[in-house]
């Protein structure tokens, strides 16, 4: 009833605006969710620190542009590289020693890594927010009729889709992709096949973290406040997006990202009085979807072979 009222009362302009907002948020979620899924797909572990890698990438960008005054396009490239390295370092320090450990240990180590990054950022950069560098070209406003759109919002979906395509190609059609999938199932035997599993896992982390960096840059331009806790909520939501889509499935991550992004906007748009429950929405969707599809929308349906 309320929904109907809200719908009728909504002008075409508002509706279009909501859709634009939703797509932009959704593709941001998708972008970060892909990184989760990448790592999960190979190591079968939630990289709890992924959200915090996003946070670190934001600080890197800040230092690049606002402190060292490197041109923004160069900074972006540097940030992507540095963040990829950070991902590799985290993998080496926190996950590699646990290769043969039970899954729970790895999960705990991941939580520990996430905790460490947050506390470290807090200690080094203080809890006070910094402003993400303003890049006029990307953050300027454009008007399309009554719809207002930020330049970056036009790029976000495009970048996300392009990254998706590249990634799918790598995983499905290249030798490294094949070895990634092999490593994910049985790394002992993968070694026997002559695969250097440490390299494969490092590459996976590098790619995942590079994606986090791209996501972070777009996130930062769109929501320009940097704090040590910045990664927590997006991290959690994007992880949920990945799970909704089917963890390990790259297309699923994108689908999940869009469902969450658009869903959140729609909740607030049509049920304004529920706006306080917006964050709960992600979790409710998650639980409902898992109830019907325990491995997510596009996750492979597995009957465990007995």
């Amino acid at each position: 009833m309320e929904f109907f009222e809200a719908f009728v009362n909504m002008s075409g302009g508002s509706f279009a605006q909501h859709m634009v907002n939703g797509i932009s948020l959704g593709s941001l979620y998708a972008m970060i969710a892909i990184g989760y899924t990448m790592v999960y797909g190979i190591l079968l572990m939630i990289n709890f620190a992924h959200g915090d890698i996003v946070m670190m990438a934001c600080y890197f960008t800040f230092f690049g542009i606002s402190v060292f005054h490197i041109p923004w396009y160069l900074t972006f490239i540097l940030v992507i590289i540095t963040t990829a390295l950070l991902g590799v370092v985290i993998e080496r320090a926190a996950y590699r020693p646990l290769r043969d450990a039970p899954k729970n240990s790895v999960l705990i180590s991941a939580i520990g890594a996430s905790f460490l990054l947050e506390n470290l950022a807090n200690y080094l950069f203080s809890g006070r927010p910094l402003r993400f560098p303003n890049i006029e070209v990307l953050s300027q406003n454009l008007s399309l009729g009554s719809v207002q759109i930020q330049a970056i919002s036009l790029f976000i979906p495009v970048v996300t889709i392009v990254c998706l395509m590249i990634l799918l190609h790598i995983v499905n059609n290249t030798k490294i992709g094949m070895s990634m999938r092999a490593v994910s199932k049985d790394y002992e035997i993968a070694r026997v096949m002559g695969i250097n599993i440490d390299n494969v896992i490092s590459i996976t982390f590098a790619i995942g973290s590079a994606l986090a960096a791209i996501g972070a840059i777009m996130w930062g331009i769109r929501y320009p406040g940097i704090t040590p806790m910045l990664g927590v909520m997006p991290g959690l939501k994007c992880f949920i997006a990945a799970v909704i889509g089917g963890v390990g499935n790259i297309k699923g991550a994108v689908l999940g990202g869009f469902i969450l992004g658009l869903g959140e906007i729609i909740i607030v748009a049509f049920f304004p009085q529920l706006s306080g429950y917006r964050d709960a929405f992600a979790f409710i969707v998650l639980i409902v979807i898992l109830f019907y599809k325990p491995t997510g929308l596009l996750g492979e349906k597995t009957t465990e072979k007995v």
Binding site: S105, Y123, V243, A280, L286, I287, P294, V306
Partner: protein, 356 residues
């Protein structure tokens, strides 16, 4: 024979500890009392978490949510009726509950039962999930609970929180609860039900084929865990004298995770040790937050925030180098202790069949 001896020893130990609690309560300062109380409350919650995560092998991260339920039950029902208007100053309390007042022990049990009920309801959808999926779903549930509490202004006072909960800082009271929870869980784990939980942890399919109803037992463990977490949360609220939704962020659960990992997943005595080490350890690490002067030179490393960096490094080092925790799945038992006292170096030898 040995059984009887063990029982006597246990009773002596408990009595001794209770005496210690009595001493702490009357002879020491309130700072120490607070730390001791916090240790015990954390132990209850650690134990509750171990029941699902350690014994039943269901990696659940919902403890903060269940604690919140227990804490709010205490918050809502124990604040004196006369003080309620000043607590609920922004929007008056819902008339249905505005006049219900309970003594603390009753509110604790009500809170525990509510948490168990919620666990029962959410168990149906989430307990079908495995591993990471379960972890995220339960974590999500604890967030939902928190968000609902935030928005339910007339019942929970929303973000304003509830204060004027009659303060509890009586070590004996909390000790009694902790001991009861400890004894109950220990007893339960050593029954057929406890074995069934462990069977589920080891291999769900085999357990099912052996006639163990997966859902029923997971649900039982989950509800018991929620019940005790609710009690723990209630004690926590009474200890602080105030609650608000921000207390129960999902990151709170990580504290208990640390406790059970440190103590050893699947070890009751491990959880007890873990909770003492974590709570006391965090207090001890506080020196890292205070400026340090060595020979008149201020060491720049030591400033607020450093403690948490060290804490997280320790957490990681722990899982990296000592992943089974202090106790693993073993327990402290009288038999082993006595054997150890008789032959302190025996543990280095090969372990034989030592039961008669």
């Amino acid at each position: 024979m040995a059984k009887k001896r063990n029982l006597i020893l246990t009773v002596i130990l408990l009595a001794g500890l209770f005496g210690l609690a009595w001493y702490i309560n009357f002879e020491t300062d309130s700072y120490l009392r607070r730390i001791v109380n916090l240790c015990m409350v954390y132990a209850i919650i650690g134990l509750s978490m171990n029941l699902t995560n350690g014994f039943t092998g269901q990696f659940s991260l919902g403890q903060a949510g269940f604690m919140a339920i227990g804490a709010y039950a205490v918050g809502i029902f124990t604040v004196p009726v006369s003080l309620r208007p000043s607590v609920f100053y922004a929007a008056p309390m819902h008339p249905a509950i505005a006049d219900i007042h309970m003594p603390l022990w009753l509110a604790l049990i009500v809170g525990g039962l509510c948490a168990a009920l919620v666990a029962f309801l959410i168990g149906a959808p989430v307990l079908r999930l495995r591993g990471d999926y379960l972890a995220v779903a339960t974590l999500g549930f604890s967030e939902i609970i928190r968000i609902v509490i935030t928005n339910a202004q007339t019942i929970t006072n929303g973000a304003l929180g509830i204060k004027d909960i009659p303060p509890l800082n009586d070590v004996r009271y909390i000790f009694a609860f902790t001991a009861a929870v400890f004894i109950f869980i220990t007893a339960l784990i050593n029954t057929s039900y406890g074995r069934a939980f462990k069977a589920i942890r080891e291999d769900e399919i085999a357990a099912e084929a052996m006639g163990i109803d997966l859902f029923k037992h997971k649900s039982l463990a989950f509800m018991l865990s929620a019940f005790f977490a609710g009690i723990g949360g209630g004690l926590y609220a009474a200890l602080l004298g105030t609650v608000d939704p921000k207390n129960f962020l999902f990151t709170l659960t990580y504290n208990f995770l640390l406790i059970i990992v440190l103590g050893g997943m699947g070890s009751i005595t491990g959880s007890m040790i873990g909770s003492i080490l974590v709570t006391a350890g965090l207090e001890f690490l506080r020196i890292f937050d205070e400026p340090l002067e060595l020979f008149g030179v201020a060491i720049p490393l030591f400033r607020p925030g450093f403690r948490m960096v060290i804490f997280s490094v320790l957490l990681m080092a722990l899982v990296l180098f000592w992943r089974r925790g202090i106790m693993g799945t073993r327990e402290f038992t009288w038999d082993k202790t006595i054997a150890f006292c008789k032959n302190p170096f025996g543990i280095f030898g090969r372990k034989g069949v030592d039961k008669a």
